[in-house]
Structures are given as C-alpha cells and as structure tokens.
C-alpha cells in the first residue's frame, strides 16, 4: 500500500486556537495520512491515535523502497483488522510532536523563530481538539471508531468524553484514564536527563545538535518500561555481546546494554528533545476524572455515548490491567455495557504493537458489529 503525507492548517491571529493552559496558537499545521475511501453515508471513518513517539504514518509505505512500513501496518490495510477496503482510516501527528504537526520546533509566526520552550504547554485535550479541526476539514460528522494504544488510548478516551456525539465507538488499548505516579516518575527522569544535558541550552539548541546524551538516556529508560521482565529474559537472558567473558570494565558487556545503547542512538536521529518534553508532560497531566462534575471517572465517562472495547495486556507494568479495569468499573457504575479483554502476553506495554494475532480478531469483530449498529442508527 503506497501512502502519502497530507497537510492541513487552521487558526489565525484573529481566530487563535485556544489551549487548555490559557495560551493560544495563531497557526496550527497538521500532518495526517488517510487510507481507504470515505463512503457516501460517511459512516466508515476511523481515527487512529498514535503513541508518544509515533507519527501520522500508521500504515503502508511512502515509496516502494521504504525499508519499513507505518507503525501499525500489521493492523491497517486491505483485509486487515482496520480494513481499508471497508473503512476510511485517518491518522494525524499529534500536537507538540516533531513529525509535521505544529510543535516546539515549529516557527512562531509572531517572532519568525522556532518556539522551543516558548511553545505553550499542551494537553491530551488540546491534541484531540486539533484532531477535531481535522475532522471538520475532512467533512466527517462522526467517527465509526476512535482507536489507539498507550498515549493514543488516552486520546481515544478523551474523544469519547469531549465529543460524545461524534464518536460511535472507542477502542482504548494498553492505556489508562489517568497517568499513574509510576509513569509520571519515569517521564520526570527522562525529562531531567534531557534538561541536564549541557547541549540542552534551555531548549534553544541549534537544529542538528540536540541534547543527544540526555535524549538517548530518556529513551533507554522509557524503552525498558515498554518491555517486561519475561520479555527481557527471553530476548537477552544474561547473554554477552560479542565477547566470551565479562571484561571487568564499565563498557557494555551484556546484550541488553548494547541493545539499549542502540535504541538510544536510533532515537536521537528521529526525535526532537523539546517535543519529547512537551508530549511526556501532556501525558503526566492526563486525568480524565477531571472532566467529571464530581471529579470522578464515572462522572466523566457518564458524558460519553459510545460503545467501548477496552484491551489491556497481562504483563504491561507501565499501564497495568487494573487501570483498564478502572475504566470498565466506571462504565458499569453508569449502567453501561462494555467489552474488555486482558490479553495474556509476556511482551509488556509494547504488546499493543506486537500481539497482532490476538488483537486482530478482537478489533475486526468489534468494528464490524459497530459498523452494523452505526448503520442502523
């Protein structure tokens, strides 16, 4: 499947885009991709929300010689779970990211220079509001489904509560209705590592010389939280990297050390340090319960009108299954029926990208039944 990036801009000085923090943006660019065709009834549009370091490039290839397809290519395409023969799939890069949508590295129209840390603080709610502008631009009235894993799942939940009449169904995967202290803690350590890098320069590092040390350490830490004890045992054990015995030095001896180094190095080539700060902060601030009148999750979810299919993974310790059960419980308190599956997996948080064989039938069957009820409505 060959796909291409598309762009859309909105907001102006007169009609600025208001953010939760009180500030606003006078121009917002949105990079997005779409796969499949919107049908005449406009009841087959599905929004895919990406995770922390993802992009709009969810499926297919930009050119025949692309080494890798989009990040959820196994799930999206002709005949796959998000079947592009049936559904019109949209994925957009989130606000504050560095893959085409406005973020800290964008040029501020007022100053003519990159925002860097003058970029206003953004939230999951703001990200969803940007997607809502895109929705209007695409002339879609209601999503058949909004789906996403991890930070993408947070966006899906926010959609259900912020725009109840524009979401027919919601598929939050490996996620939570609020960022836990564990996640906030890991995010903090990651950001501290970036901010204390001498190249950080209060976010004003020139392009091409970002705080690579700090960003790579942030990535190494974060990467481990996406794995599990069992997956690390299986993948690395105590195997040594290109040596027969330990060398009694601090350089990398173990395969896991070398692997993490590699992950860190790869990451600094593809991601921006300031964007990492802003998006992790947005994640920290996410607490859906605050949307409720009495600041409870049940009150917040009472606003939603859609059917939910919630999926967690047994070995996910970053967004543990109990956090998905909290969503299930809050829905039940509202007398709402729902679907919840806790998939047995050793793959940790990353399971939402890896356990395709189990996830695929769940998603495709749920979507099919939602399309039926959407058409009936």
């Amino acid at each position: 499947m060959l796909v291409k990036e598309q762009f859309f801009s909105f907001a102006s000085k007169e009609q600025a885009f208001q953010l939760r923090c009180g500030k606003s943006l006078s121009k917002v660019d949105v990079c997005f991709e779409s796969y499949g065709q919107l049908n005449a009834e406009k009841n087959n549009a599905v929004l895919i929300c990406h995770a922390l370091t993802g992009s709009a490039h969810a499926a297919g290839r930009h050119s025949e010689d692309d080494r890798k397809p989009g990040w959820w290519d196994e799930m999206i395409g002709p005949g796959k779970s998000f079947d592009t023969n049936k559904y019109f799939i949209v994925c957009s890069n989130i606000l504050s990211s560095c893959y085409g949508t406005t973020g800290p590295q964008s040029i501020c129209p007022e100053t003519g220079e990159a925002y860097n840390l003058d970029f206003p603080m953004t939230t999951i709610h703001d990200m969803v509001n940007v997607q809502h502008e895109l929705m209007k631009h695409l002339e879609i009235d209601k999503w058949l489904a909004v789906a996403g894993g991890s930070l993408g799942g947070m966006q899906a939940l926010q959609w259900a509560v912020s725009y109840p009449d524009k979401v027919h169904s919601c598929i939050p995967i490996a996620t939570a209705a609020q960022c836990s202290p564990l996640s906030i803690g890991f995010n903090w350590v990651g950001r501290e590592s970036i901010r204390k890098d001498e190249n950080f320069q209060e976010g004003n590092y020139p392009s091409g010389s970002q705080p690579e040390k700090g960003l790579s350490i942030a990535r190494m830490i974060a990467h481990m939280t996406y794995l599990s004890d069992a997956s690390m045992q299986n993948k690395f054990g105590r195997k040594l990297q290109e040596m027969d015995d330990v060398n009694y030095e601090f350089s990398h001896n173990f395969q896991v050390e070398s692997y993490l180094n590699y992950q860190g190095r790869q990451f600094v080539n593809r991601f921006d340090a300031n964007a990492y700060l802003y998006i992790t902060r947005a994640m920290d601030y996410f607490n859906l319960a605050e949307e409720g009148e009495k600041k409870t999750l049940a009150h917040a979810l009472a606003k939603s009108l859609c059917q939910f299919c919630i999926v967690s993974f047994s070995s996910d310790w970053l967004f543990p299954p109990y956090q998905s059960v909290e969503i299930v419980n809050a829905l039940a308190e509202n007398h709402r029926t729902a679907t919840y599956c806790n998939i047995k997996s050793d793959a940790g948080h990353d399971a939402f990208l890896l356990e395709v064989d189990i996830l695929a039938p769940i998603i495709s069957n749920f979507l099919a039944q939602q399309q039926e009820s959407f058409a009936d409505a």
Binding site: A330, A332, H335, T339, Y340
Partner: protein
Amino acid sequence: MHKQLLDANFSIITSLIDKKSRVLDLGCGKGKLLKHLKLEKKCEVQGIDVSQQEVIDCIANAVPVLQLDLEEGMSFFQDKSFDFVVISQTMQQVHNPDKLIREALRVGKKVIVSVHNLAYWKSRLQIMLRGMMPNTKHLPYEWYNTPNIHLGSIRDFYSMCEKEDFRITNVCPGGEHFLRSFNKNLFSEFSVFTLESL
C-alpha cells in the same frame, strides 16, 4: 454439560427472561445465550467471563463481554442495575457460590441459577455400584481435574437457599426423565431456579 442438556438448559433460561430486559450473564462462555437474547428478545446484554478465548469468541458473537474474575467481586455494578442475572453452570466452578449468589441478588432484580444435580438417580447408582465419583457423559471429568469444584444436589441447593435466606420464586426441573417434576432431587438432571431478594 452434554449437548442435549445444554439445549434444554438454554431454552428453559431464555423462556424465563422478559423481552427488552437488561441481562447480566456470569460465566457467559462464548455468549450464545446473550447473543440469542440480544437478537430475539432485544435485551441489553452484558457478559462476564474469565477466559480469554471465551471473551474473544463473545466479541465475534457481537456480545459485550468483560474479561473479569467473578471471584474478585463485582462491587462496581450498582444495586438492581440488571433485570436478570444469569448463573448458568457457573456456580459449581467458583470458590464461594453463596457469595456469588448474594452479590447477584444485589445487582439483579431476579437471579436465574442453573444447578447441576449430583443426586440424579444415575449418578447415585454409579456411586453405589462403582464406589467412585460419577463420571458420565454429563460430567465428563475425573474428580481431580474437574472445573466443577462445588457440585451438589438439588436438595443441597434448597438447603443453602434456606440457610442464606435466598428466596426461591420458581423452579424448572430439567432433563429427560418423565418423573423429573415429581421428584427433582432424584429425577432431574439439573434444575433452573429463579431467586429474588426478600
């Protein structure tokens, strides 16, 4: 449970459930009952099952299902938030059947419990003649690998209901024996009880 008995159990339970009611099935399996109630009786349904495979099959049957362990309680359901709570062939597989039924009575206006009868005459005969746990086509397990950890008889169930103050408002004896209504404890292979709060 054997196919014929399952069918009999299925039709007794569906006959007891009103159209357009809210139904919770505890241990719903692949969601066959709920699918039927949803399509034929326009019920609003919710299943719960602990097994991943059963849950995936439920989703394929377009039945809303929660993968949860009933033993961990269901305090998140509001009092009387369902018209019917079904406990079909599930009671004998949990550690605390009395707790499960009490919780079901809190959540549902009516609770429908299908009870397997270990005192069915054929089972009695097997115990008497073989001196071993009954192992029939209806209970195709060895005593050491059966999921049915709390088997009892119809009289055992009556006795629990009396002790625990569960009010029985209806009983349908099931099975093929023509005397099953005459003596449920001897001739019904299972019975479907309707319970209501006092």
